[in-house]
Symmetry: C2
Subunit: 114 residues, 2 copies
C-alpha cells in the first residue's frame, strides 16, 4: 500500500474527502468500484508514480497520488472518464473534499527488519 516513488523532487496530490454515504452500502460499493477504476486509469497515465489510499468505516478517504510533474497532474485532472467520476462524486458521494498539490522535497521510508 506504500507507494514506491523515485527520489524527490516530484509532485503529490493530497485528496481528502468526507463521505455522505456512510449509511448506504450500495453507494459505498459503487464508490469503491469507481475508485478502483480510477486507480487503474491513473496508472496508465503519463507521469503517474504511485498512489496511497485509506478509507475508514464511514467512507471517508485520504488518497495521495504521486506524479512526475505538474503537467501530468493537469492531464489527469482533465482525463474524460476521470472528469465524469469527479462529477459523480459531487452529485452522489462527497459531503466535502479538499485537493492540495504539493511538491515532495524529502522522503524516507522505514520497514521492519530492514
Amino acid at each position: 500500500m506504500i507507494a514506491k516513488t523515485p527520489e524527490p523532487p516530484y509532485y503529490s496530490v493530497i485528496f481528502t474527502t468526507e463521505s455522505k454515504t456512510a449509511a448506504d452500502a450500495a453507494a459505498q460499493q459503487d464508490y469503491a468500484d469507481t475508485a478502483m477504476r480510477m486507480v487503474e486509469l491513473a496508472m496508465a497515465q503519463e507521469g503517474f508514480l504511485g498512489i496511497e489510499t485509506v478509507y475508514d468505516a464511514q467512507g471517508n478517504e485520504i488518497a495521495v497520488s504521486y506524479w512526475r510533474d505538474e503537467a501530468s497532474i493537469q492531464q489527469w485532472r482533465k482525463q474524460a472518464e476521470h472528469k465524469l467520476a469527479q462529477q459523480r462524486g459531487r452529485e452522489d458521494w462527497y459531503q466535502r473534499y479538499s485537493v492540495r498539490v504539493a511538491q515532495v522535497q524529502r522522503a524516507y521510508q522505514w520497514a521492519r527488519g530492514e
Copy 2:
C-alpha cells in the same frame, strides 16, 4: 476532518503506515490513544496548521499534517514525547511507514451546498 489551512504556500508531512497490529485489539487501542495524544501535542506546537487522518479496519493509516514552514516540522520531529511515540511505533505498531515532506503550492476545497 478536512483541515482549514491558510492560502499556500505552506508545508505538509504525508505519513503513510502499514500496521502490524491488525489482529490485536489492545495494541490498536493503545495506538489510537497515542495517536490522539500526538494530535493534541502537535496542535500546541509552533507553526502547526492542521491535520487530516484516516485509519482503515486493518489499522493502516494516512495522516497528513500541515505546517507553516520547515523549521516547525523539524521542531515537531524532535519533540521529546513525540520521539518516544515514534520509537514505540517502530517497536510495537508499524510494519512499514513512509514520510514525505512536501510544499503545498495550490489548494481548493468543495463542499455540498456551498
